[in-house]
Subunit: 271 residues, 3 copies
């Protein structure tokens, strides 16, 4: 009993995802604000290296990471080129966890997934300044609005208490693979720090993994491998990555450098 | 009551600011040392990307971040080109929080602010090795002296117990704006990872934000905007930043790259 | 008594060392998985900037950092070019703390030190999927196997319970200094973010620190200094670094850039 009480009352998980980088101390400031309101919060950095203002990249990384956190985790995301304008600050319950951040599509991947799976979704326009810092700058809502709101959620304040219900959130248009004769045309949606090229092609686009051809940048890859060890060092391979997307990788190397690939480049699966 | 006891006894916040980078594991080692002495400490990284040996930059980032942490937070800062020399290790109470680090001006911004506001200041020369690690290297006092001292503070050891009072701390000479006919000449004091150019000019130097001209690198900016959204993408704007300093920014872009600006470059306000 | 109970039951320390970088959110995902199983775990990042697939570098950084953490800390390390192949996942007790990671030599420095000091060593092949995530990808065992295993250790699951004893771990061949007439030939084993060149030469190779000559890249350094302050700015000095290895440094500068040095380059001590 005491143990479960401690779990319920003391352990609240908050994540931070931003495009702030780690040079200037901004993510640290958000942690200070959170602990000032919710001293028991446990805070994890997802990443602060989203490319500046790249809301789509933020949405994809958040969509990949969020499901691995405990139920009830408060994901606080700030990629916010519209800070200080009319764009609305929001908080949301998305089936299994909270999102706190700007209403610019940053939660699109999580939101669409929750809706697709028929889970409960509740979105709130954050319009009650009593849950914010006393002074609000026009350039750092991560510190002044989103961190305090995340902390109040961690303290058990009800989502509906934080503002007004909202039914028209901004959606990002996520790139969708296009059907071809005997195949699909997808594209690169993320390049990780190893140079692996993650695409928007999923299992459903690849009926027979051993028999498809993958075409990228003038190269043809015959079939998918199950693991990097199934290829030779320096060989270009296609593989289902850790988020179950088709990924093009160079064994023990950097596919992005080898192919000079960029996000948005076409990747075709033929069968 | 139990909740407040837990807060008081279990939750102690320590921050780390260094120029160590994140490649070599040094900040992690400091966390290990802290937890070995104060297992209940909650530790936040402010930044480890202060440019090597740039004490002024460290002092400015610390000055901006520290006020947002809970009262009593222990700010541990190590930008320490004089490590192993006669420069003194210090700990200090600066009005509302602790500072632990080298006596080289790294706490100047916090110290001058506390003095300006008439807050209690107490500075201690750390000269009692019983509060350090058993063996002291001549190159890593962050691990051997500052982390253990921060941990003992978190455990409730009184500041005065850690060493001898000190009344002549090293001050950094912070650049001060110079008055002009109908204006002020300031300078760039920080460039953040977005390329925004923060200056030492504050509200008191800008009587009518809508009417001043801001001169930088041969460009003239007419008036301040209240938010990035008041400018056009690609437009150079002047704005009060999140630490209430005048900042020159490129809307949805990088002002530092566009203007080829460096810390120390002149910025003039004319009215 | 209550305090010690809290320490024993609530505070469990886990570190993460990887070559994932901080761009893609992978270390954050590992924290989510850990907290889902062991909500009371305290997690510190050692580094995520090991050069991709550089197992030796990972082993050296881990060997330097691990001893500074509290007894019982669970060091989780993932530099894993063989992920998804036949290489075994392991967990080990190495005298004073746990290691969790791939069986590719990543724990070699810790393992050899524990054996040299006659400490208890127990290595387990992780072959019980009930302690892993339900679904195992072939590319991200940090998330699917190592994070859950670390969390179960933090929860008090016995090491032996996690798999089958293993007696033939993979060892890395660490470079060993070679004796010369009146000296030793060592090599650079690590270059830190300040550009300091750490070597595999230790105190035992340097009988009289004030009288030896250190030869590197055509330069001759006369004697070791005790601290950076004993050299002039811009002077090349030799010094025992914070892990008690001979290190070549440029006072207030970057020795790696000045000497164009790389890991593996020869460093000679003559006496």
């Amino acid at each position: 009993l005491p143990y479960s009480i401690i779990q319920v009352f003391l352990l609240k998980f908050i994540t931070l995802l931003t495009d702030f980088g780690l040079q200037d101390g901004y993510p640290g400031v958000m942690k200070g604000v959170i602990w000032g309101i919710a001293p028991e919060a446990q805070i994890a950095d997802l990443t602060h290296f989203i490319h500046p203002h790249n809301v789509l990249e933020g949405a994809l990384v958040l969509g990949r990471a969020a499901p691995y956190f405990p139920a009830g985790t408060i994901h606080t995301a700030v990629v916010d080129p519209g800070v200080g304008t009319q764009r609305r600050p929001i908080a949301a319950w998305l089936g299994n966890f909270y999102f706190v951040g700007p209403d610019n599509g940053l939660c699109s991947v999580l939101l669409e997934r929750a809706q697709e799976w028929g889970e409960k979704v509740q979105i709130i326009h954050l319009d009650r300044p009593r849950y914010w810092l006393p002074e609000i700058s026009s350039v750092f809502h991560g510190r002044d609005i989103f961190a305090p709101v995340a902390a109040h959620l961690a303290n058990g304040v009800a989502l509906a208490e934080l503002g007004t219900p909202l039914n028209d959130p901004v959606y990002l248009h996520l790139p969708v693979p296009q059907p071809l004769d005997h195949g699909w045309q997808g594209e690169i949606i993320n390049i990780d720090s190893f140079g692996n090229l993650s695409t928007n092609l999923e299992r459903k686009h690849i009926p027979e993994p051993g028999k498809v051809n993958v075409l990228i940048a003038g190269e043809k890859i015959n079939g998918l491998v199950r693991t990097f060890g199934d290829g030779q060092p320096g060989e270009l391979v296609a593989i289902m990555d850790s988020s179950e997307h088709l990924s093009i990788c160079l064994v023990n190397g950097n596919a992005s450098q080898r192919l000079q690939s960029r996000v948005g480049d076409a990747v075709v699966v033929k069968f």
